[in-house]
């Protein structure tokens, strides 16, 4: 089996793939990137917070025209995962308005998004329809 790395460091691979946010210990604000301080309350301590793997699609677009090298069409969206907003693509369904709708229930899914020259696979994530 090829070596695998997550596309971003807030994706945790393994038997139960999930996302992890940096949560401010003072106010609970959550961030997905490295922080100098909390943008909400300016505190500097963070802890890992596991993000729910199921949620509701609260905004989306179907991108038909993108930068060179980005395969289109694809569905980009924001998923409300139990109160935490997560950015991601809607995957494993047709990228058209008949198959993607506001408020649809989705769950986290992973997929290989590329392989480097050493044969290591990059594992990306997206959200697929819960009823699929």
């Amino acid at each position: 089996m090829a070596a695998a790395v997550p596309i971003v460091d807030y994706l945790v691979l393994g038997d139960d793939p999930h996302l992890v946010a940096q949560e401010c210990t003072a106010c609970g604000a959550r961030f997905f990137d490295r922080r100098n301080a909390c943008a909400s309350c300016f505190a500097t301590e963070f802890r890992d917070a596991t993000i729910a793997t199921e949620g509701e699609l609260k905004a989306f677009t179907i991108v038909a025209f993108a930068a060179p090298g980005v395969p289109v069409p694809f569905v980009a969206g924001v998923v409300d995962c139990d109160g935490t907003s997560v950015r991601g693509n809607v995957i494993n369904t047709e990228p058209d308005p008949d198959h993607v709708s506001l408020g649809m229930k989705v769950k986290l899914a992973t997929q290989v998004v590329g392989t480097d020259d050493d044969g290591t696979e990059a594992i990306g994530f997206g959200f697929e329809p819960l009823e699929a």
């Binding site: 596309i7 971003v8 604000a29 943008a39 989306f60 991108v63 930068a67 980005v70 907003s85």
Partner: protein
């Protein structure tokens, strides 16, 4: 007029569109010289210059411009604030006057954007040997644009409109297209607009899809253009001619905000909260309410964006943007005409020029000089811009009582 009021003495925008024969400085000079002439003053009267050219922000457009229209040694502030760059330049000149450093200032915004194509997407190209290695604040091993959502402007603002639809209901592809139909209809009366051809709803919906639900005509038009304004203190204006005083337009409110932290603002930009804040502050400063507005130029960078700003600017009750649009209110013969210039979708969006050009549009009506597209009897207007990142500028303008 109160001594500490700020007034627009002269203001002008160039024709928006393709200007292959003019460079960035030519366009800035054309707008600046026209604004000075409009105000009946020269560079000798100007005490501060604030200038913006976003796509080449490190080039010092202010000093480049001085070399073409007059080097007088005054302080120059080169500003960059995304799509709010023009409004930021204007506000910088206003702040200098309010601070008492001078009594007259010039603000200029200019952009050459024809053929610029899609803005916001893409990523850093990889080196020759491709070995995954976490980089940046997300520890990304490869480009994430298109893999974890989209960085493109049409896609980002599409989601902003869809988010509103999810929250309040009533949105559809057709509704957003109708907003664009309005703006493309309005611009038929604006000779300075980049596009002046009316488009039917069918043409708009049938055009090339960029990022659902935004088709190409529902996206802001990349084009060349510049706009400039001369601002003056009330005290100085009193010393000028009656004709200058009559044509001067009062800046009743000048507000700039950035986005305060919100739960999802770093996942999908929140263009709502900072616009609501800016509008609230502006109405308070000006002592007017949304009901008093005779026209509004707002930042319709995409059809999906125009909808949410009806609500953010308080033109309707919270959650009522769809009903507001469907009532016909934002059409030029409606209760609160919005983007009678054609807006960014049809007049065009040369980024740094936009924040002054939409103030020019409002001033044009308040002065009663808007010709065929004049909103009769216009006394109060509002101009709004937003740049992602984010920055929001709101100005409220009032007709001179002189």
């Amino acid at each position: 007029m109160a001594s500490d009021d700020i007034w627009i003495l002269g203001i002008k925008m160039t024709k928006f569109g393709k200007h292959p024969d003019l460079d960035t400085v030519d366009l800035a000079a054309e707008a600046a010289q026209a604004a000075l002439a409009d105000g009946g003053v020269t560079m000798a009267d100007i005490g501060v210059l604030a200038a913006g050219n976003l796509m080449n922000a490190s080039a010092g457009i202010g000093q480049q411009l001085q070399k073409q229209i007059g080097q007088t040694g005054i302080p120059v502030y080169n500003v960059a604030n995304a799509c709010a760059t023009g409004a930021t330049a204007l506000r910088t000149a206003i702040m200098a006057i309010k601070a008492g450093e001078c009594d007259m200032g010039l603000a200029v915004g200019v952009e050459k954007l024809s053929g610029a194509g899609l803005l916001g997407g893409g990523g850093t190209p990889k080196s020759d040997k491709n070995v995954y290695e976490p980089k940046g604040r997300f520890g990304a091993v490869t480009n994430v644009d298109g893999r974890i959502g989209t960085n493109t402007m049409p896609g980002t603002f599409a989601q902003i409109g869809m988010e509103y639809g999810h929250k309040y209901g009533g949105t559809s592809f057709e509704l957003f297209a109708k907003i664009s139909e309005k703006n493309h209809s309005h611009s038929t009366l604006n000779p300075l607009a980049a596009y002046t051809k009316k488009m039917t709803l069918e043409e708009i919906m049938g055009d090339m899809m960029i990022a659902y639900p935004n088709t190409r005509p529902m996206c802001s038009a990349n084009c060349d253009g510049a706009a400039a304004a001369v601002v003056v203190s009330g005290e100085k204006l009193k010393t000028l001619s009656l004709e200058q005083q009559k044509r001067a337009v009062k800046v009743s409110a000048s507000v700039l905000t950035s986005d305060p932290w919100q739960e999802s603002c770093q996942v999908l930009p929140d263009v709502n909260t900072l616009t609501k804040m800016a509008a609230t502050q502006a109405y308070e400063q000006a002592g007017v309410s949304p009901d008093d507005l005779d026209l509004v130029e707002l930042h319709d960078c995409f059809a999906t964006a125009e909808l949410v700003h009806y609500d953010n600017l308080g033109l309707c009750e919270e959650g009522g943007a769809v009903d507001f649009f469907n009532s016909g209110a934002p059409w030029r013969d409606g209760q609160t005409p919005v983007n009678v210039s054609g807006g960014l979708q049809s007049k065009g969006h040369p980024i740094a020029a936009t924040g002054i050009a939409n103030i020019w549009e409002v001033c044009h009506h308040l002065r009663g000089e808007a010709g065929d597209r004049q909103i009769e009897g216009a006394k109060v207007g509002l101009a709004h811009v937003i740049g992602l990142g984010s920055a929001c500028g709101v100005h409220i303008l009032e007709k001179s009582a002189a």
